[in-house]
Structures are given as C-alpha cells and as structure tokens.
Symmetry: C2
Subunit: 232 residues, 2 copies
Amino acid sequence: MPESAFEGLRGLHLFEAMAEQHFQALMRGAFVQTFPPQIELITEGDPSDFLHVVLSGSVDLFSNWNDRETSMATVRPISTFILAATIRDAPYLMSARTLEKSRIALIPSDEVRVIFGLDDGFARAIVTELAQCYRSVIKAQKDLKLRSSTERLANYLLRSQIRADGEAEFELGFEKRRLASVLGITPEHLSRAFKGLQSHGVVADGTRVRIEDRKKLERFAKPNPLIDDPVK
Amino acid sequence: MPESAFEGLRGLHLFEAMAEQHFQALMRGAFVQTFPPQIELITEGDPSDFLHVVLSGSVDLFSNWNDRETSMATVRPISTFILAATIRDAPYLMSARTLEKSRIALIPSDEVRVIFGLDDGFARAIVTELAQCYRSVIKAQKDLKLRSSTERLANYLLRSQIRADGEAEFELGFEKRRLASVLGITPEHLSRAFKGLQSHGVVADGTRVRIEDRKKLERFAKPNPLIDDPVK
DNA sequence: CGCTATGTTGATCCATATCAATAAGTGTGG
DNA sequence: CCACACTTATTGATATGGATCAACATAGCG
C-alpha cells in the first residue's frame, strides 16, 4: 500500500498528535478501498471490525427497526465513523452505505484499541472527537423534538447555505428522498414542506435550491446556535 | 470539605484510574451541595463552569427552543453530566434541574481540563464514558425516529421493569407529565397511550405500573438490544 | 427510446396536538 | 384537621401535522 494512500489521514485531528511509530502500526493493518454507490459497508448489530474513514465521496448512516428505516446522518470527507463502537468494542448501532462512489480507509478496530492503550496523544484526540460527535447528536435530537418538519427543513436549508459559502443558490447534495429520511418525514411530505417555504423565499428546482431572502427565512426558521451551529 | 463527601466519586469509573494526586487536585476546587427539588442547576447556552456529578436524587436534562421545551434525559446516581461541554470548553447544550432533593458534586471545568491534559488514565476513562454517552443518545434517536409514541412507551416500560429487577409491579419514578416529555408527546396523549397498552397487559394506577404478562407486551413492543439495551 | 427511479399532486386516513372540562391529588395556612 | 388553592391526570371534542395510497409526471440511464 503506497504511503500516499494514507496522506489525508495523518492530517486528521484524530491522528495528528500520535507518535509516528504508532501511526505506522495502525496503518500496517489498514487499507483503502474505493466503493461504488449504494454499497452497504457495515450492518448494525455486527461486531465493530474496522474503524472507517471517509476520504472522498459520502456515506449514509441509517438504522432499521421492525421493517422501518431511517437515515441518521451523512458522513463527508474527511471524517471517521463508528468510533464509539470501536472504542467500546461493541456492536454497530447503525448501518452504513455509500451514497456515491467513495474512497474509504478501513483500520482494524482491535489495532485501534491497542494503540489507544499505548498512545496518550491518540487517546486525547479521541476524547475531543467523541465529545464533538456527542454534541452533534444532542443537537439533532433537539431539532427532532422541538421543531416541526417544515421548521427542520428551513433550518436545514439555512445550514446548507452556510456550507455552500453563503451562496444564494446551491445544490442539496443528495436526493430528496434521503433528505426526507434525514428530516424524519416521507418524501411526499417533503414536497409539501418545500411548498410551504415558498412564501418564505425558498425556490426549489430539482436538487437546486435558492434562498431569495435569508433574513426572511430566518424569521420563520429561528435558527439557534445551540441546535444549528456545527462547531459550538 | 471532609474527604468523605467525595467518597462516592473516587469509585466512579471516571475517576478510578487517575493518580491520587490528580484526584486530590480535582477535589480541592470541588464542592458538594444539596439542592431542593426543582432547582435549575445550569442553563443551556451558559459557559461550562463545572462538571456535575449526581450523588443522590435525580436530575432532568431539558432544552428549550421557541417557547417549547422538551426533556432530553434523566441523570441518576452516580453519574456525571455535561462532560462533553466541559471537555470542549463549549456552552451547555441542555439545561438541568433537580427532580427531587439531590446531592450534587461540582468540579471546576478548567481544573478538569488541566488534569485531563496531565493524567492519561483520566483521559482514557473520559473516552469510555463519552463513547457510552454517545451511544445512548444514538439509541434515543432511533427510538424517536423509528417508533410510534405507544411503541416508545411500551419499550420504556419494559426497560423500567428491568431496572426494577424484573418486578411485575414497579414505580415510574417521576411524574407522568415528565415521562410524556421524555417520550416526546403531550401528557394527554400519554394517558391515551397507557390505555392503548391495557390490551397488552399493562395496568397503570397513578405512578405505579404493573406488567401482567411481559411476553405479551414484548410481542407488541418488539424491544431491540440496539435500541433498548443500556449497556450494549 | 423506453425503463425504472424519483418527485409531485390529490384524496384520504391516522397519529398526535390542542382546547376545554372535570376529577383527583398535594400542599398550605388557618 | 379542614378548606382552599394549585398542580397533575384523565376524558371528550376537535383540529392539524404528517402518513399512506394512488395517479401521474419527470428525469436518469441502459
């Protein structure tokens, strides 16, 4: 495996502080693979064999229960997923599938746990990462419990616009049916939620969205840093 | 402050592995206080000044947005809350109030961060703790997105029964209006959800609940370890 | 070019919220 | 110990958010 394949990894906050020899040890058992779209990478309930890192493309984390399915989160480069399962040596709580063609690094979980025991810098980096993940989920849960579906969509769009560097018009990034699942509603209802936002200056054409007047949309959406700010 | 006040703390997984001198350092700035019921201990958005540990009683974590409020979790002895905010030196994402008379230990957040930087055992213990917290919230989110309110109640009761050592009859532990908020529904709807469970062998009398036939209730609730198991 | 997926729209149904009235506790001061 | 106020729980009536089902439109795609 050429060293360059792991180039992106070393720069990740998670691997930055660790000793070079430990990084090397981690990488020895690791490999990078490119997957086509719609490939199921992991299945919930399985033991956590590998820590995954999305290098390019994107990955959908989803869950099933009683023949229902819901999308929990989208993982974009460069970040890891199922870190918590790896650390606790516990089964995956979510399944994962590629949304598009994606390069994924796979690092053996037992190796991660060994190095976690040896390298203090690594252990500390994991703390920061996990605390971040935890706070993200709490925000998602507040979003779910405190807002109606149209409010969730409105705030989602406001966040998307920021990710798109504030451009008035931007791409949704994935299919509407998945957006619906992320927001916890049906595709039909999403259509109607978009319509409901027209009066607040939202124009949707397929997967392109334009926010005519951000201030106006904000008056409706009432974004809040304790729910919508990705860093805070 | 008598040493005995912190007795319970030292045995906590979080503080178990750390060097005695570091534990002492943490405790120097810490104090234990007893609060009456319904006292707001922290307010979301505030900077995280203290890591809190519930020694006795119980604490409700809740959030507000746009004049709505929802209960996010209940913290019981002996465990900490707002660890993630402390570590990231970020504002609280949730508010906290005592549900009953409670003894709480308060440990200055900056001190926690200093010792986190010095003590590797402490850093590692925090990882395990955070990974656990993270997985709990993920489970809560799956519960919310994949289940109807009656299904959530049914599974909640099954979990409560386990906490009550499997007794057929047990106490809910708090008011129904709070349970409603935890489940993400209105108190009125909770009344109806309880009625809906009568045919599955659930008898509710005030704050006492009896599960006549666990197997029967399970057939309806379909509990799943990846949502309902507190440890997995 | 025709398939198959996805998205939209309409009609209807269902889960849950809201509003209102009543009942049942619970605590407080006299 | 009672009377009162106050909160909580229940029940009923109604409204609404969102799901479901069906039909159609549209867009990728082999």
